[in-house]
Symmetry: C2
């Protein structure tokens, strides 16, 4: 007789590497220590007031189900946003509202790949892709990118070498979490050619689409030849600093894909109603909001880049998008160092939390010296946080190698 | 080379049978026809004011991520609710907030079964289970229950006959959607004995736990022998008439199960923040809310039961819970009849929508004469809706069999 045990799927699902040191951070906080969170992408930028006002103005007496593909007013406003971005040929039925970018990724993966099938990803990558793939029984096949090249896409041959008869899609994320790299049109052209040659879907995670400091965002939606292959996944979480709203969307001109994600959407009934009402109001948020936000993040990026590069032994290339960077630290095990910062190291009763690199790689042994830094704090806090890192490195390495 | 096509998983996922006639209803509405929705479980009861007030009072400037297992205040209030229900030994770490009952079911299924494995369900059942199972690559194995017995559980042998070496769990729903049947302790004891004998999980969908008109709700949480086997799935959608909030939870004393669903939860980051804040306030809603609601639904059930049984040829047993009943109509194909009501039949420019039975069965050929009726309208509207059904049956059968 079999034992009462959880599924293999459950065993295959990794705990979030971004959140797994949380227990040590919580302990430090309980002891009264201030922890600077450079580990998570929770911006401090205010959510537009329009959002809260719309929610407050809502006066229906019953908080009812909405349509499975999203409230009409939100769908309409999102469409307007993408039309304004230049993708004027997106039609109403080519957009579905999802419960955050998370659900957009899960549904897109599930729509193109069955259990046992494969999706190619570029590592380092957003670790929650691992969770979604494990939940869906899909195998993520990593193609490595390197700190030395600023995590740019590798040669076409290196990508094609990973394609098997089980490969169903290539997943790209631009601007990239965790590297901050913005794919240029040449790189996207390579993805396009591979996708067309091998009949693969391209799942494009563009939740940081507004966060481009240099160059231009090359959306998958701007490649007409990929109309049937492209599935764009988006979220309002970062664009409007509304992470808690859990509102995202999927866009595809592939009719079967949209029919399929709608069936998944019908199973879960609808995204949250009040948060959709808030999100629908955001179309009224002026371009100034984006511009101010972009200016602020550019300032932060420049600041933390300068601060980090001045630390002896730390290596980092300046990324041009999102609000993350991967940083190489002069330590043997970044996981040990990150944990030690939380458990053992304090400067004026403060410490800094970073997200260890290995969790962003699927290939074992990679990312051992890297960490993801999210520059989502104001510059003053970041100054202190980086100072703590610098002092911590000194103490950690002195302590480790003896004196 | 393979074709660019969606996943087999996508093909396996059924469209919602409850929502699939929606296109005909929409068309009727466009023509100015009033449609009475007896097909969906969207209650008209007001959501408690506490919910909206809490959301309005929320004054944080950044709508931030919450913890993956839910906001502490909501977790705490839900725990209090279950303690008050008599399950006083549920601990904090044994409860996780989910994005609605939908996610509770999906995560629970995924935690206990891998792609290709099986879960036993009693048909007719909530059709979205099909969607979740298809998404997860799990096979639902139906055990039939019958209109003649009021959809009570069949003999133990009939259930055990469906157990294979791939069976991982039995899924029960009590009070039941779509039948309204409330499982008694004897029936739950049979489930218990089978689960213990074969080492199976019991996934218990109790979102209608407050809707019991006669008898008593036998929660899976009230069977201490099943501590390790039991996974309870719940939602505030029906209990507080807050379907759009998308707030539910999973409770289990099995540590591995809770660790696993938390990993799934980390992948999707968190449930919606504002709606959790609203939900956390509901603990202040007095018992009078439940009592009034229960009185109202009991009145509606009695009313629609009387009205339906007075129609020649219609058969229905009076259910004792939830707000649904399965009704047998004197027609060959309920799907054809339900569609015809929307496309061809009007009384004073009004018609009635019902949910055809076959979508609630996994065995083909079953439910051809049955429909699910949700008695979520006030009695006046239900009077009109049932009159339309009665007249419709007469015209439909006369027209069909000629005169």
């Amino acid at each position: 007789m079999k034992e009462l045990q959880i599924s293999q799927r459950g065993n295959n699902t990794p705990a979030s590497p971004i959140r797994k040191l949380a227990v040590f951070a919580d302990q430090a906080k309980k002891e009264g220590v201030k922890v600077f969170h450079l580990n998570i992408g929770q911006p401090d930028i205010f959510t537009p007031e329009e959002f809260f006002n719309a929610v407050k103005d809502h006066s229906e007496k019953v908080l009812a189900y909405g349509p499975s593909n999203g409230l009409p007013e939100l769908r309409n406003n999102l469409l307007n946003y993408y039309h304004k971005c230049g993708y004027s040929n997106i039609k109403e039925e080519e957009l579905m509202v999802t419960t955050a970018g998370s659900e957009a990724v899960l549904f897109s993966m599930m729509a193109v790949a069955s259990p046992g099938e494969e999706i190619i990803v570029f590592e380092p990558f957003y670790p929650n892709y691992n969770g979604f793939a494990a939940m869906a029984g899909i195998k993520l096949v990593p193609v490595s990118t390197d700190p030395e090249t600023g995590y740019r896409l590798p040669d076409r041959e290196k990508i094609e070498a990973k394609i098997t008869d089980k490969t169903r899609a290539i997943l790209v994320c631009t601007p990239n979490n965790p590297t901050g790299t913005v794919l240029n049109r040449d790189e996207m052209d390579v993805i396009k050619e591979i996708a067309l040659k091998h009949n693969l879907f391209v799942l494009s995670d563009e939740v940081y689409r507004e966060f481009v400091f240099e160059g231009e965002h090359a959306s998958i939606l701007s490649f007409p030849e990929l109309e049937q292959n492209a599935v764009m996944m988006d979220s309002i979480s970062k664009r409007y600093s509304a992470c808690g709203a859990r509102i995202g969307c999927i866009i595809s001109k592939n009719k079967s894909v949209m029919e399929t994600v709608l069936k998944f959407g019908q199973a879960r009934l609808c995204p949250p109603t009040l948060e959709q009402i808030g999100a629908a109001s955001l179309i009224a948020t002026g371009d100034k909001y984006f511009k101010d936000m972009l200016d602020e993040y550019k300032k932060r990026r420049d600041f933390i880049y300068e601060a980090l590069t001045s630390i002896p032994g730390v290596e980092v290339k300046k990324p041009s998008g999102a609000f993350y960077m991967m940083v190489r630290f002069p330590v043997d095990s970044i996981e040990e160092f990150a944990k030690w910062l939380l458990t053992d190291f304090r400067v004026n009763n403060m410490t800094t939390m970073i997200a260890p690199g290995p969790g962003f790689y699927a290939s074992s042994g990679r990312g051992m010296q890297e960490a993801r830094i999210a520059y989502v704090l104001n510059t003053e806090d970041m100054r202190t946080a980086v100072d703590i890192l610098e002092k911590g490195l000194e103490v950690y390495n002195r302590r480790k190698f003896g004196e």
